[in-house]
Symmetry: C3
Subunit: 343 residues, 3 copies
């Protein structure tokens, strides 16, 4: 009997099934420090316990994307080991800050299945939940991936495509209990621009660049216990290159976006995202943002801002797609998220 | 008077001498997080405080090999600075889990000496003990190294070759106080295979590979305060390459072995080990295991399993030595250890 | 309106102005562990809580240079984003140890201005203070940088060159409250040499070398939230190389100096320093020291030692400048500091 995990194939998923992912993980100041070493992360709320307390939180939480990556990493052996492509995200919400000492685990519910016409692959939709040691949901999101069939002769399941919100409404967002930006210190945060200073349609070139090394993206991806071979093993791809985990590009772009969006402190919603082109070591990542929407919130002094975050490997900012409607080759990431800012 | 340490030579060791190694070290969640960044470590007991508590421990201990490396690192300036080769390990036992907040130091007792017939080198056997802040022994092991003579004319010491157990018996192993696997959660741990599912002689190909970078092995080796020049200084070897610390290969192979041995949670005995061939950056490490023995233990629900862990730079699994009785060139590590599993 | 920070230009500084730097930072065991992974740091006082307690401190503080880098990093967006060169340091003093849990922020007071004769650049002197969560000053230092003018037609300010001490006197140094080396354990510290064993004029070759990788210096520099483009972005310099942060060279050289100065435990004064030549990845760093002065202190068993620390990329030790009075090309750093040692 083989002891190793070959991963699930398309025919192994059933609608309604809940997969309990393995290897719970306790975080500490170590993960927080590593996040600062791996990314040019400077948002004050995640950097300073004092700043976080002044905003009504218990202490500085782990970066919101670090929490996402930890939960995502747990799902890889069950969801994407035989994946051909990560197709999309929707309805992602951060419900609770993750603090040092918290232990995270993850579950995924299969909410959609659709065999492709070639009969060799299919699309699987899962709603993944990250749970803490009190079984409270810290974040959830829908992800869909194209997965190989293990047995090409397996019957196609009944097609079920979930009805997903293209964009979360501001009232769908969870606000951290106690969050209060009425005493917000813009000097300590690093920029004077408040929620009211951003206009829908406004575009921001984040200017800075970061050239990525193999060791860096592997350290990061391992930290999240993401085991997908293509990130670590030069023999896993025909070209002998290691593919950089898409989440590494997200975190790098988000950190670069500090320059112009220093006050977009907390990420609370993920409307969607595309890893438009693969990223390899040696790339110099750049980022630009566009304000897609704005909304008031019930938390004191807190506004919500919906942002497009685009990571590129160069080229002029604010260019996304070509005349053919496809992403330009230098576009690596097109992310649509909600953040919380001081009003 | 020179202030720098030239290290000890063969003639500087005396039977019965106890060397107190320098630089005690306090560990925290930082070392634990770094271990997860450096290796694809996923054993639940070392990843989650909650999982560790459910198994009767106070919290998730530092990885057993991290504890070993920290103790080993302290011995380098006194034992292996002038070593020609690390020849072997025996009678290694982990006595106590190492938790964040613990402070480790190390001592080594010289238990064997044998000058080589060439008169230029000799073999030194030491029993190294890692002690915590309460002077309790957290682990001990015997190591023997070939060391240069500083003065070729120094008299040969009386030969003393210690009588070492080729293999620890199961009853020699220390079981962590309170360890209890009767409530073990196989789903959270990541695999269903329990102690009873493994047969003596069974071989497991761990499938995954990890390509190693210079920055990674240097970060790891420095973290353990191991200062051997060959790992860090490209001018230390004629070929201008940095030799990867053998312990980096151990930790990488052990982490890769999760895939097939996810429930071999705690390493408690080191019977022996050979660093069969040197490892350099750029190598893609793979691993396979063989079940050498099994034994019951007195701890509730806990079985002991003796495993051969082999790290390779490629080639087919389960090949160890050539017709000449020598390790194949792709074999980097041949380790013999005891681990604890749920029964 | 542009949202991104273009940095300050020479004409933007005013004598007496106090700049409050952004992004306070809470440190934990994570930063301490990373420091040990990034540098071969072995000074026992920063490695072991037990050793630090035996010397009268609450626990092992963060390495003194880590505290410096954290404070320095905060100043970069306001002081050196448009800097042409980092010209010097003076009157640097460490006032309080930084412990896990502390939150650091920084301010800089403009204390000198002098436009260069070319009319395109000027020199700015600032006194930077690192403050903890109780608003106590943990360290301060003077730094001067050459900064570009944004508008070449801007009026030259009145020249003010501050009167700086070329060297701090021993009585200017702050001694950590409670520091007591009367029970100092030289065996645990790693070397027998006490304060009395060092002679003014004595030179020490630290022997060891460390070859630096791109990933390492970027991880380090990001950890200190230093955002200067030249360290991260291969497109920021005409040669496509990343310049290594001068502080990385300081920390590496200081750590290498353990071999010969293991008992120079705490850095308490920075008299001056020059980053003599740029450092790039691939360099094998070496270090040598010279004893410049010695002084008694009021703390029990504690002596002060003034050291020159020189980092090189090779060449013979103890060579600093050529016949032309300029630093030799292999000299990367020439640092003048005070440390505390057991008497």
């Amino acid at each position: 009997m083989t002891k190793t995990n070959r991963g699930r194939f398309f025919e192994d998923y059933r609608i309604g099934e809940v997969i309990h992912h393995a290897v719970p993980r306790t975080v500490s100041g170590g993960e927080r420090a590593l996040y600062h070493a791996l990314y040019p992360a400077r948002h004050a709320l995640h950097s300073s316990d004092e700043f976080a307390r002044s905003a009504g939180l218990a202490q500085a939480p782990l970066d919101d994307w670090a929490a996402f990556h930890l939960v995502f990493g747990k799902t890889v052996p069950d969801v994407s080991l035989n994946a051909v492509a990560n197709l999309g995200y929707a309805e992602g919400r951060w419900h609770l800050p993750v603090y040092p000492g918290d232990t995270l685990r993850a579950t995924s519910e299969v909410i959609g299945l659709k065999q492709n016409s070639n009969g060799k692959t299919g699309v699987v939709w899962v709603r993944t939940r990250g749970l803490n040691q009190r079984d409270a949901c810290v974040l959830d999101y829908v992800r869909w991936v194209m997965v190989r069939k293990g047995n090409p002769d397996a019957d196609a399941p009944e097609t079920r495509v979930p009805d997903l919100k293209p964009v979360l409404a501001a009232e769908d967002l969870a606000l951290p209990a106690g969050l209060d930006f009425t005493g917000y210190d813009f000097t300590l945060a690093g920029e004077p621009h408040r929620w009211g200073d951003y206009a829908i349609g406004e575009q921001i070139d984040h200017v800075d660049g970061a050239t990525v090394e193999e060791a860096e993206h592997m350290l990061a991806t391992r930290l999240w216990q993401n085991t997908a071979k293509v990130h670590f093993d030069t023999s896993a791809r025909p070209d002998g290159r290691r593919l950089i985990y898409g989440g590494h590009v997200i975190s790098m772009a988000r950190a670069l976006s500090f320059n112009g969006l220093a006050n977009a402190q907390m990420v609370v919603g993920l409307n969607g995202g595309a890893h438009a082109n693969p990223c390899l070591a040696g790339t110099t990542l750049r980022a630009w943002s566009e304000v897609l929407d704005k909304a008031e919130t019930a938390a004191p002094g807190v506004g919500a801002i919906r942002l497009r975050l685009v990571a590129t490997s160069g080229g002029a900012p604010f260019q996304l797609k070509g005349a053919d409607g496809k992403y330009l080759p230098e576009v690596l990431l097109d992310l649509d998220y909600w953040a919380l800012m001081p009003r």
